[in-house]
């Protein structure tokens, strides 16, 4: 506390240097404790997806108004500056307290930087504060029915209305799938095909699309746990102004890849906090015997190893390193640890997950089923191992 960091709500938002992370953490925890009742979910557990989304936006709004949500973001988009680790810490603290779902919150962590890095300064200054403050929700239009692991094969087409260099607008036709929270979103960061069908990663362009543009239809899909969190999104002659292009024409692959360092650092740190919280919830109710101790101990060991690895990754990013293929190791560890945490829950609470129709059973069952996606989304476990083998172990090409 040597620099006299005062929680922003108590000092006005414009003065003072950004705090270091230890000061920030201590002040944030104190503030969250003091505002517990305001921040706590207003619905009865487990709540609906509508309620979860509303909760996240409400929490973001309260934290934005109090200044917390602005640390670690640049001042030109309404931030208060400071190390990006501050926003990583904020998200993790909220996830660890069950105030937000880290999966939903990750859209902030990955899409705000995309706008900051690739949109015009005016556009970024206009829209990023809306995302941070909970006024808007954004989604990420990447995967397609024919393009999952092989994202560079995507086919959703953007055609210029005129010559590509001078077109005032682009017309988009095609389909996206697994688009999380599309039905709640005001905007979409969308990957489109602008080169030939064979151009792969060299012919992709990113657009920032308003979801209320005529021609967009959203069809939510029911996940294995009964929640309709992701959706199919159809684009039928959707007209997007040229100034909504993010980055260069045919530069969309670089935009998509720029998300990776955030997805693999801050988002993982927040998911880790959530998983610790779930293990905490488990140890509060399981019996005290050696079989249980072994299961719980092994899950904790995996979480610790993951946290140690992720901590090193956060520090490397903060020190200016360019994150790359080595984050596939983080991804394998986070997926394995998520499985291990919920496998422990299922083993130690077998009747709860399988047959309990009460609230407790409903929550563990939904989360257990959702955890199975950990080795699939964000690059499958197999794709990660392929990257590790090729890039980190230098085993040459497959086959």
């Amino acid at each position: 506390m040597t620099t006299g960091f005062v929680p922003p709500s108590n000092r006005g938002l414009e003065g003072g240097d950004p705090p270091d992370i230890a000061e920030f953490r201590a002040a944030l925890r104190a503030w969250l404790d003091a505002h517990h009742d305001e921040l706590a979910p207003t619905y009865a557990a487990p709540g609906t997806l509508d309620e979860h989304v509303a909760q996240m936006q409400r929490v973001k709004s309260l934290l934005f108004d109090a200044g917390w949500m602005r640390y670690g973001w640049p001042e030109r988009v309404g931030g208060l500056g400071g190390s990006p680790m501050l926003r990583t810490e904020l998200g993790a603290t909220m996830a660890g307290r069950d105030l937000i779902d880290p999966g939903m919150y990750s859209l902030v962590e990955v899409l705000a930087p995309t706008l900051i890095d690739f949109a015009s300064p005016e556009l970024a200054a206009d829209v990023v504060p809306r995302l941070l403050s909970g006024a808007e929700m954004w989604c990420q239009g990447f995967s397609e029915p024919g393009s999952g692991s092989d994202l560079a094969s995507l086919a959703c087409r953007a055609t210029p209305d005129g010559a590509p260099a001078t077109a005032a607008s682009w017309i988009i036709n095609g389909q996206k799938v697994w688009t999380s929270l599309a039905q709640y979103s005001e905007r979409c960061v969308l990957l489109t095909r602008t080169g030939t069908p064979e151009s792969r990663h060299r012919g992709i362009t990113t657009f920032f699309v308003d979801m209320d543009t005529p021609g967009i239809s959203v069809v939510p899909l029911e996940m294995i746990n009964g929640v309709r969190e992701f959706a199919e999104v159809f684009f039928d002659d959707v007209e997007v102004p040229a100034e909504r292009m993010l980055g260069e024409l045919h530069g969309g692959w670089g935009v998509a890849m720029s998300i990776l360092p955030y997805e693999r650092s801050s988002c993982f740190w927040q998911r880790i906090a959530y998983l610790y919280q779930r293990l905490q919830r488990l140890v509060e109710v399981v019996p005290e015997d050696d079989r249980t101790a072994e299961v719980v101990g092994n899950a904790y060991l995996q979480l610790h190893a993951l946290r140690a690895r992720s901590r090193a990754t956060q520090h490397r990013l903060a020190d200016g390193a360019t994150l790359g293929a080595e984050t596939s190791i983080d991804k394998v560890l986070v997926a394995s640890a998520e499985h291990a945490t919920y496998d422990a829950a299922r083993r130690l609470l077998p009747g709860v997950v399988a047959t309990d129709d009460g609230i407790v059973g409903e929550i563990w069952r939904a989360e257990y089923l959702y955890s199975r996606a950990a080795t699939i989304y964000g690059g499958t476990a197999e794709v990660q191992r392929n990257i590790i083998a090729r890039r980190l172990l230098d085993l040459g090409e497959e086959g």
Partner: protein
């Protein structure tokens, strides 16, 4: 230590240990090589760098050495030296090897090969709820029951010893004094970090062997490294090693018995995971004593059992989590 100094020291130590541990070298030569490098002075001045660099090199070259005695003796508050050995807990355990029963001390545990030649054996014993440390003068005729024997077991090249002590606590040659529980915990933690670094070296050694084999070995007209099933095994081995390295960095940055215990448990599991994958990739050749793999496999099995196996640490950890009903997050940004 500056990064450049550290890199230089690391390559110097690695080369010296590799040379001394090469097949045909005299069995004492790794310890001699470490003495020549000033290992105990390094340990006193820069413990983190010294332990990390030396133990990683010991693991990488399957070296038989007794540096663990120096780590433990110095943490237990004794001047380390080539004639001071420490009695380790029995295989798998981290409990003190001895206990005091009235005026008798009984101890049974493991030791490095230094125990067979040392003048003094440091023996930690439970005395009710407190601890005692004895500095046993091994050659003293007044203590008739100090038995040190070299064990073969799974890792005969390691020249590990079994130690039994049965003595009266009254005799001056035993030099027993109270030991703070926290000091014992620190010694276990220091030893665990060292052994985990040794496991990193051994695990990387196994992965290097398996990777080289996968690239060289041709079947069905192509290197087996081209097969996804082989690639994924090697990828999983690397994931385990990198996680262990991260746990070790964390164990030094946030020093304490918890982070050291976790690093040692992860080391035990990593040794097993890496050995399993690499042995499968090495296939037939890894099943022979002509190939160096078997020495890594056997050494890592032994290392897991020293100062608490992964299974033992996980069980204790789980019991503590259930007793407290609290899941601590030990590492912060």
């Amino acid at each position: 230590m500056e990064a450049a100094d550290r890199a230089l020291l690391s390559s110097t130590v690695d080369a010296a240990v590799a040379n001394a541990a090469a097949p045909g070298a005299a069995p004492v030569s790794v310890d001699d090589a470490l003495d020549d490098l000033g290992w105990r002075e390094m340990l006193a001045a820069e413990p983190r760098d010294a332990i990390e660099i030396v133990f990683r090199a010991l693991g990488a070259h399957n070296a038989t050495a007794t540096a663990l005695d120096d780590v433990l003796a110095s943490t237990l508050g004794h001047e380390p030296g080539p004639d001071v050995a420490v009695v380790l807990p029995p295989f798998g355990s981290s409990a003190p090897p001895g206990h005091i029963d009235g005026d008798r001390m009984h101890a049974a545990g493991l030791a490095t090969r230094r125990a067979s030649t040392a003048d003094r054996l440091l023996v930690v014993s439970a005395d009710g709820s407190s601890l005692q440390i004895a500095s046993v003068v091994a050659s003293n005729a007044a203590i008739s029951d100090v038995a040190v024997s070299t064990i073969g077991g799974i890792d005969p090249a390691g020249q590990w010893c079994s130690v039994r002590v049965d003595a009266s606590t009254d005799i001056p040659a035993l030099a027993t004094s109270p030991l703070d529980g926290a000091t014992w915990e620190s010694a276990i933690a220091a030893g665990r970090r060292a052994l985990a670094h040794q496991t990193v070296g051994a695990a990387r050694g196994m992965l290097d062997l398996a990777r080289a084999h996968a690239i060289d070995r041709v079947q069905f007209g192509r290197p087996v490294a081209g097969f996804q099933a082989v690639r994924h095994r090697l990828a999983d081995a690397l994931v385990a090693i990198e996680a262990l390295e991260a746990c070790l960095d964390a164990a030094w940055d946030e020093m304490g018995s918890e982070t050291a215990a976790l690093a040692k448990a992860v080391a035990g599991k990593t040794g097993g995971t890496v050995a399993t994958h690499c042995q499968q990739v090495l296939a037939g050749v890894g099943f022979t004593t002509d190939h160096p793999f078997h020495r890594f496999l056997k050494r890592t099995m032994m290392l897991d059992g020293l100062l608490g196996s992964a299974d033992e640490i996980v069980l204790q950890l789980g019991r503590a989590l259930l007793a407290d009903r609290t899941v601590p997050t030990l590492l912060e940004l």
